[in-house]
């Protein structure tokens, strides 16, 4: 799935209201927030891999080693780069929202 940039920004706008700081050092809040997002994205990825393995097993269709030997073509590389951007928007949401809320 590739997303328009402005949709990513729109979905990342902070909700209007106070942004609490729980730690003395705001950097600590940020680090934990990023960790939470990374953990969630990692769990999503593991779910995806698990689903994929089950689908492939059901269809009996992926010879061992094929993924390891695969190289992305231009289009796949572009899609994957776009997906990396999307993931970073999710993981660093809090950073961007803090910055936006200060304006």
């Amino acid at each position: 799935m590739s997303l328009e940039r402005d949709l990513l920004a729109m979905a990342t706008e902070p909700a209007a209201g106070p942004r609490p700081q729980f730690f003395d050092d705001p950097a600590m809040d940020r680090v934990w927030d990023v960790l939470a997002a990374l953990t969630a994205e990692l769990a999503v990825t593991r779910t995806r891999l698990n689903s994929l393995e089950r689908v492939l097993a059901e269809h009996d269709c992926l010879p061992a080693g094929v993924v390891d030997g695969w190289v992305a073509d231009d289009e796949a590389a572009r899609d994957q780069a776009q997906a990396h951007q999307e993931m970073l928007m999710r993981v660093f949401r809090g950073l961007l929202q803090d910055a936006a809320a200060k304006q």
Binding site: L3, D33, A36, A43, V44, T47, Q97
Partner: protein, 412 residues
């Protein structure tokens, strides 16, 4: 396998505060429901799992830290326990376990909201079209293009929903409704049932028990949101005429399309301010708010209560469902319950839970002997029942009721 059971030396299983969440794929389908691709579903499910983890594993740690660290530290420093919730909370806020639990809870809520929006926005044009078509086929949606929502709804975005209830992203927008449907299910881990309508089922169960055989002919649902709970009453009382009011046009368009697609045809969804509901001088047998008052303001709530009395028919009932008030609860529990008020953008949460709602109903003219406090509950569908309070996300609801007597009271 040997027949002898092997016993591992571990502590006994902790009592369930939050059962394993139901996947977002369990949401009751209808024509307007957004389609979630694999990873979007996974994000919702991971968010629900995160909340379950926070309630089941980290909340007990917070409670232990409060007893073992926070309370003794104050005692050692000042020689006396905290006098009220505010003192207790200021101590808690210095505690590492509280900080971590709070940080993760807040982060997870922000993530779920972002994930809900990111799942909905790419399919918004198609969803808008679907809702347009459905709503063109009936006349049960009444929007007011000149409507100005009360400030508390636009200034503060409840439970961190970007844009809040009243944002309009484009013509005939339904984004807030669609995101609300999906995110609410995930936040509650499906404990509110496939239609996120446990409050409606609790209301119905209460009516069946306390007014057996009663069939309200006209019902006014103030702050209906996407109408999931309204639909419970609409189905239970198919001959009743129901008016559901909300400020959010995007919610109402979605609610109307959802209800129509589910075959519910006795609810009219009207945009307006529930402080002065746009229903002329009509009267209703049942006037209710479900989980709404905590999002308003003190004067707002007083005006809502006054409107309830004004629009209640003789012999009718006004019914308000919320989380229980803080009074008489231990200070730690008050702080845990107050988390949403402080960190989840619930405008009137803290003050409302300190307010005597029954007294407020009496103050707008309900006779004292016709105002009472009660509780309502309904079994969570699908999920296993949690045996302990999750402080604000589960358990029994608090209800305050006012009745308008059939006959005028004779004052003595």
């Amino acid at each position: 396998m040997s027949a002898t059971a092997y016993s591992i030396k571990t502590p006994a299983a902790a009592p369930l505060r939050a059962p394993l969440p139901l996947p977002v794929s369990a949401i009751e389908t209808h024509a307007a429901l957004p389609q979630l691709a694999h990873d979007d579903q996974a994000r919702m499910n991971v968010g629900a799992a995160f909340n379950t983890f926070l309630a089941q594993r980290m909340l007990p740690a917070v409670e232990r830290a409060a007893r073992a660290e926070v309370e003794p530290a104050r005692q050692a420093r000042l020689g006396q326990p905290a006098a009220d919730r505010h003192e207790y909370r200021r101590d808690l806020e210095q505690n590492l376990t509280w900080r971590l639990w709070s940080r993760l809870r807040r982060s997870n809520m922000e993530m779920l909201q972002q994930a809900g929006r990111l799942a909905v926005l790419p399919q918004l044009p198609a969803l808008v079209e679907t809702c347009r078509e459905i709503n063109a086929g009936h006349d049960r949606l009444e929007l007011d293009p000149t409507f100005q929502p009360p400030g508390y709804l636009s200034r503060l975005h409840s439970h961190l929903m970007p844009g809040g209830y009243v944002a309009e992203l484009g013509d005939d927008d339904i984004a807030a409704g669609a995101a609300y449907d999906v995110v609410t299910h995930a936040v509650l881990g499906g404990r509110s049932g496939p239609a996120s309508d446990r409050a409606g089922r609790a209301t119905l169960a209460w009516l069946r028990e306390h007014r057996p055989g009663w069939t309200p002919r006209r019902i006014l649902d103030l702050g209906c949101g996407i109408g999931t709970n309204t639909c419970v009453l609409a189905r239970a009382f198919p001959d009743a005429e129901i008016i559901a009011v909300d400020a959010g046009a995007a919610l109402l368009r979605y609610a109307a399309a959802r209800a129509a697609s589910l075959g519910v045809t006795n609810i009219r969804f009207i945009q307006g301010d529930i402080e002065t509901p746009p229903v002329g001088d009509e009267r209703f047998d049942l006037v209710m708010t479900l989980m709404v008052l905590h999002e308003t303001s003190r004067p707002g709530m007083q005006r809502i209560f006054a409107s309830c009395r004004e629009h209640l028919a003789k012999g009718g009932l006004t019914f308000h469902l919320e989380q229980p008030p803080y009074r008489d609860k231990p200070l730690l529990e008050q702080c845990l319950r107050d988390w949403d008020g402080r960190y989840n953008n619930e405008a009137f949460w803290s003050a409302m839970h300190d307010t005597d709602l029954a007294a407020q109903l009496r103050a707008v003219g309900f006779p004292a002997q016709h105002v009472f406090e009660t509780t309502a509950n309904a079994p969570p569908l699908g999920a296993t029942t949690a045996t302990q309070e999750d402080y604000g996300r589960g358990g029994a609801w608090y209800v305050v009721v006012g009745e308008k007597p059939l006959l005028k009271e004779v004052s003595v």
